[in-house]
Symmetry: C2
Subunit: 349 residues, 2 copies
């Protein structure tokens, strides 16, 4: 940014310049291979998107705010750039769709427009390329804290999107990946000194989550799932949302949950304290840990054999069953089933 | 919200409940008359939008932040709700399109979730109904300040959107409405005591701006304009953007600008100080005042007679001409044309 006083035009030029190589164009008509859906990119009053025939457009937006979703002093700006887009794309994955383009709203202090912004944009660009999702436009302004809002536009074949409101009693309940892994990563990351090696494997799911796009699209293509959502606030908070939308309940088998263990040396980081075992702690992470961006979906028992134990390298695990009784029970931890209370992330709690 | 502790679910229910009567549905498939384009509304991972055949989708988003775009203590929450949507819709008007639906991202302190939120949502709903733009989804969280981001989805016939990059030397330059009226309203409003009558006519353009949708759509339908944008930061800041995108310059005739006068009693509020006249001050308001959301457009001289002096009750005024010389001159204030310097709103200035 040099000595020239930063202006909104310069900031836009910086963002636009970085993204040009990914196929986003200045307001010029015409189509490139990468940006086939974006007919008009950054620089005009609005962007123009060319929808595919036979598709519905998926619309979603997500806050990513300094102090709440990330800490400027601790989190690598590159990870902030990746994650703000990845978590919004996870909503597209949860609908079984493909991301196409996104809008970036960025409010930023002047002292973050140098190195911080460069690294942030690098992470964002890497995610945009990885997920084949083109920056189409946005809004920038100045603020004393870094505020990010990302809107993602995706597509899915008309009438085929995976919704939350169509789970049926008797359906089996599945999750992808391992639950609690991002929360575990966050706890381990918090213990690190600043500048710690953010590429260590145990931090990856916290810093660079991977929305389950391939799995969601496979579920749509093969008409496997009756309902789906992504787990962003923790299973104990998100499963009740799916059940409420569908007017059903669920029975979750604790023994089947794909848990992760805290390293034995890290008992101090355990979610539960006192005399509970490591296994209890892994269960608690799996039930209440947020930020996993795994898929939670339901499928009729008749489809059970079509669902592989892993898809595109990610485990797919049956964890229970949908019930007509609207309560949500956890079985396998006590002699009697216990009611599963929401214990995940809620900004107002 | 009563004594029950506010949760994200409750907040969503409040927003969703208010908007249900405008045609936004919970995650249920099916189409209603009002929400024909929104196949799936609030309550799922994402919203589903049904694009019209033969149309491109217009995408735009806008910040509306406490302390920068509005003051919680001074601005009626109803106006905040109206304006955060209206200004984003103005970008759709500038493309010549029709708004269809929007996403609301709201971060809000717990103490604003009662009366403030109710009135905010009332203003927002009134705008949504007025502009026929359906709330499709969003994201809510808690924050010590009120942060708003609105994404609007609109449509325009494919290949027909009004862009900034296609003005031609020799085109005539037009603006809608009166320039500086919102800035004048802001200054008069600032002098009011809190709780002043916000429905007074002189405040309307500041508090409840009206995007020029009908004019933009008329320009597209009749293939009148070669380029267009909306004036949000002031003519002196926005005209250079249009000229830069088109690789042209402009000559603006000061005598033709549709100005507004400050009331004579309000000389203390004048933009320029000292010995300048009220006319100078009106000119300064017209050149540099922001927030007008009027359309700035260009049209070939051959179309001059097709452009009426007013459209849908809003003046349409020829204010100058596009030139091959890339500079932007103001004529009629001095013996010699002077270069028009950007003096409008830039958050980083």
């Amino acid at each position: 940014m040099s000595r020239r006083r930063l202006s909104e035009n310069l900031l836009l030029a910086k963002i636009g310049g970085l993204f040009e190589s990914t196929g986003v164009r200045k307001p010029l008509r015409g189509i490139t291979a990468h940006a086939g859906h974006v007919a008009l990119g950054i620089g005009d009053d609005a962007a123009l998107f060319r929808p595919s025939r036979g598709c519905e457009t998926i619309l979603t937006c997500d806050w990513f705010l300094e102090g709440m979703h990330f800490l400027r002093r601790n989190h690598p700006p590159d990870s902030v750039g990746w994650k703000c887009l990845a978590r919004a794309i996870s909503d597209v994955a949860a609908m079984g769709g493909a991301p196409r383009s996104f809008l970036l709203s960025l409010a930023i202090p002047e002292n973050a427009t140098g190195e911080w912004l460069d690294e942030f944009l690098r992470g964002l660009r890497r995610a945009a390329q990885h997920f084949d999702c083109v920056l189409a436009g946005g809004d920038t302004t100045k603020r004393n804290e870094i505020l990010i809002n990302v809107s993602v536009i995706g597509e899915v074949a008309s009438g085929r999107a995976l919704c939350r409101n169509s789970a049926k009693a008797g359906d089996l309940l599945y999750v992808s990946g391992r639950l609690g892994e991002a929360e575990r990563g966050l706890r381990l990351f918090r213990r690190q000194k600043r500048g710690a090696n953010s590429s260590a494997p145990q931090f990856q799911k916290h810093l660079y989550p991977e929305p389950r796009l391939a799995l969601g699209q496979w579920l749509v293509k093969n008409r496997i799932a009756t309902s789906a959502m992504d787990i962003s606030d923790g299973l104990s908070s998100d499963l009740p949302r799916l059940c409420a939308a569908s007017g059903v309940g669920a029975r979750v088998d604790a023994a089947k949950l794909p848990v992760v263990m805290m390293p034995p040396a890290d008992r101090s980081l355990r979610h539960t304290s006192g005399r509970k075992s490591l296994a209890d702690d892994a269960l608690s992470l799996a039930l209440h840990g947020g930020d996993d961006y795994e898929l939670l979906f339901t499928a009729p028992k008749s489809k059970e054999l079509q669902i592989p134990p892993a898809f595109a390298g990610v485990a797919v695990t049956s964890i229970g069953e949908i019930t007509a009784n609207r309560k949500i029970f956890l079985v396998g931890t006590q002699t009697q089933p216990t009611i599963l209370e929401p214990g995940g992330w809620d900004p107002f709690r």
